[in-house]
């Protein structure tokens, strides 16, 4: 039963409730003739573990907040907490007018508006930590339709090109019951999360810094450069050293080396085994702070 609930929930993530009875009756603004040729903007995104395209956004200068690019949502939705942080307050008919709405990469969306709602889909994902990152809302039609957007999962940027001569048709009242079916799953999701005992952690810590550049030759990893003043230099690693293992992990490639130290925190000590001038050496490096 429970896993099904989770799956059903997951399947619903993209599609948000209809704005059933709330018309967006904002008068149409004439497109600005001055902005005849608008530039393309590259917007970095991340693919979450739930396969959502996540774009970081600053709202009213606060944030960044993690929003999902979602053509299945009619508008911008942000959680109550985000609204509070961004000092965004509901105005006419439940709409928030954002003073500024800027996507990472430098895309400033003019006259962006949105709605404040704790969507069950986001609550669910956050409660279980499914996305691998905390989600704060979605960017939907009212913003997306203003741009010609290029999506390519083989690139790490989305490309937004403003449709300067286009005024997207406004939202219209639809009647009907909206998306109550999904929203009513809220309590179920909370129960499931509590029952499974999942306590996600969205905190991050930097990996510790060694301070070497390496090169790979015949399945061997050699130190190409030791950065001046780095932990590697202090510990006594030398240019030309062949790194054979780190702690107990054998090193045949740069990938191995990165893997061995993937979760190494600042201040942790690591035993490097190297071959230098035909002799085996052991060097203990205390990782520093930096990148």
């Amino acid at each position: 039963m429970r896993w099904r609930t989770a799956l059903v929930l997951a399947a619903c993530l993209g599609l948000l409730p209809l704005l059933a009875t709330r018309a967006d009756d904002k008068p149409k603004a004439a497109p600005d003739p001055r902005a005849a040729k608008a530039a393309k903007v590259e917007v970095p995104y991340r693919l979450t573990d739930t396969k959502h395209l996540m774009v970081r956004t600053k709202i009213n200068g606060k944030g960044p907040f993690n929003l999902i690019v979602d053509t299945g949502a009619p508008a911008v939705f942000i959680t109550k907490k985000v609204a509070e942080k961004a000092k965004a307050e509901e105005g006419d008919k439940g709409w928030v007018n954002f003073d500024s709405f800027e996507l990472e990469g430098g895309l400033k969306v003019e006259k962006a508006r949105g709605r404040i709602e704790d969507l069950v889909q986001l609550d669910g994902m956050n409660g279980m930590g499914l996305a691998g990152v905390e989600l704060h809302g979605v960017i939907g039609y009212t913003v997306l339709a203003k741009y010609r957007i290029e999506y390519d999962l083989t690139s790490d940027k989305l490309v937004f090109e403003p449709l300067v001569a286009f005024d997207p048709p406004p939202l219209v009242p639809l009647g009907g019951k909206g998306g109550e079916g999904i929203q009513s799953m809220g309590p179920m999701v909370k129960m499931l999360t509590a029952m499974l005992g999942i306590k996600p952690n969205f905190d991050t810590v930097p990996r510790g810094f060694t301070g070497i550049e390496y090169e790979e030759k015949d399945n061997k990893v050699f130190i190409k450069a030791v950065l001046a003043g780095s932990p590697a230099e202090k510990a006594g690693l030398k240019v030309g050293d062949h790194i054979t293992s780190v702690k107990t992990d054998g090193i045949d490639s740069g990938k191995d080396l990165n893997k061995a130290l993937a979760k190494a925190g600042v201040g942790t000590k690591w035993r490097f085994h190297v071959t230098r001038g035909g002799k085996e050496e052991e060097v203990i490096v205390e990782l520093g702070k930096g990148l």
């Binding site: 989770a6 396969k51 999962l153 639809l174 999904i182």
Partner: protein, 286 residues
């Protein structure tokens, strides 16, 4: 006890349905002469994008195109018509959801044909609600479809342009199940370690509590490091790294975790009140 029960249930079901959760194999490598395919879409009154889709030669059905959907989805009516259901298939009491993903032998959208696309079967309440408002809508097309293409969506022309990009979409459901199982320890998970993908040779520290200006402050730029060679200096306020905001130490490491060694990227810094764009090529290292 309840937890153990849920866990064993999860484990059992996960282990027993490997077929359902494995991603379809990528059959064809990318051809160099792939031409873009243009698919018109309808902008529904609900402001969703709708496309016409044939499933196993049945239809066309009107489905919603949704970049925020990690899976494809069709309702039970379509699943039955297109022969997606097998005898003895069990259905969850919730929204008539099928227990596992179904494979669509042949999916056609405009001039585009795909084999082996997976979908969930479920009477999604939001889809039903949309159908109630705008007429028949039978499901959702999402990530497993569009991730395979370089795709441009143009609301003005009401069309999307697709060119295969060779990307193999992973299985969102399998990933989530893994997460559910892995994370169910009852303890708070360890924080994620952000590992830079290359070596730069500098450090940053977080701005002070009362400092609301963007960026982090750069220090410890190491002599002759990639950062130094690119012109980065101690005291610079780093604003972005490869277009990504660097307002905290963790932002900076996140951006660096996505910047590949040997590839030149832009670092925007503020120095003496002026914004400068530096170009730095991080090295293969750590």
């Amino acid at each position: 006890m309840k937890r153990a029960f849920a866990l064993s249930l999860l484990a059992g079901l996960f282990a027993l349905s490997p077929l359902a959760y494995s991603a379809p194999p990528e059959k064809e490598p990318l051809k160099p002469d792939e031409k873009p395919i243009v698919i018109p879409f309808e902008l529904l009154k609900s402001r969703h994008m709708a496309i016409q889709v044939k499933i196993n030669d049945k239809g066309p059905y009107r489905l919603i195109f949704d970049t925020g959907a990690p899976t494809n989805l069709v309702n039970n009516k379509v699943a039955k018509e297109a022969g997606l259901l097998e005898k003895g298939d069990k259905t969850a009491p919730l929204f008539g959801a099928s227990m596992n993903a179904k494979t669509i032998k042949k999916l056609e959208i405009g001039g585009l044909k795909l084999e082996g696309m997976t979908t969930m079967v479920m009477d999604h309440p939001t889809v039903s609600a949309i159908a109630e408002a705008v007429g028949p809508v039978e499901g959702i097309v999402g990530f497993p479809f569009f991730a395979r293409y370089k795709m441009t969506i143009d609301y003005e022309k009401k069309e999307m342009t697709l060119t295969p990009n060779g990307y193999i979409p992973g299985d969102a459901m399998a990933g989530m199940m893994e997460k559910l199982m892995g994370g169910a320890s009852g303890k708070k998970a360890e924080p994620n370690v952000l590992a830079p993908a290359a070596v730069w040779g500098f450090d940053v520290y977080d701005r002070k509590k009362d400092d609301e200006n963007p960026g982090v402050t750069v220090n410890s730029v190491l002599a002759k490091s990639p950062a130094a060679l690119g012109g980065l200096k101690n005291g610079d306020r780093l604003l972005t790294l490869d277009g990504r905001w660097t307002d905290t130490v963790s932002d900076t490491f996140l951006a660096a975790s996505l910047a590949k060694p040997g590839k030149a990227v832009a670092l925007v810094v503020k120095r003496d009140g002026k914004e400068l764009k530096l170009t730095v090529t991080p090295g293969k290292g750590l």
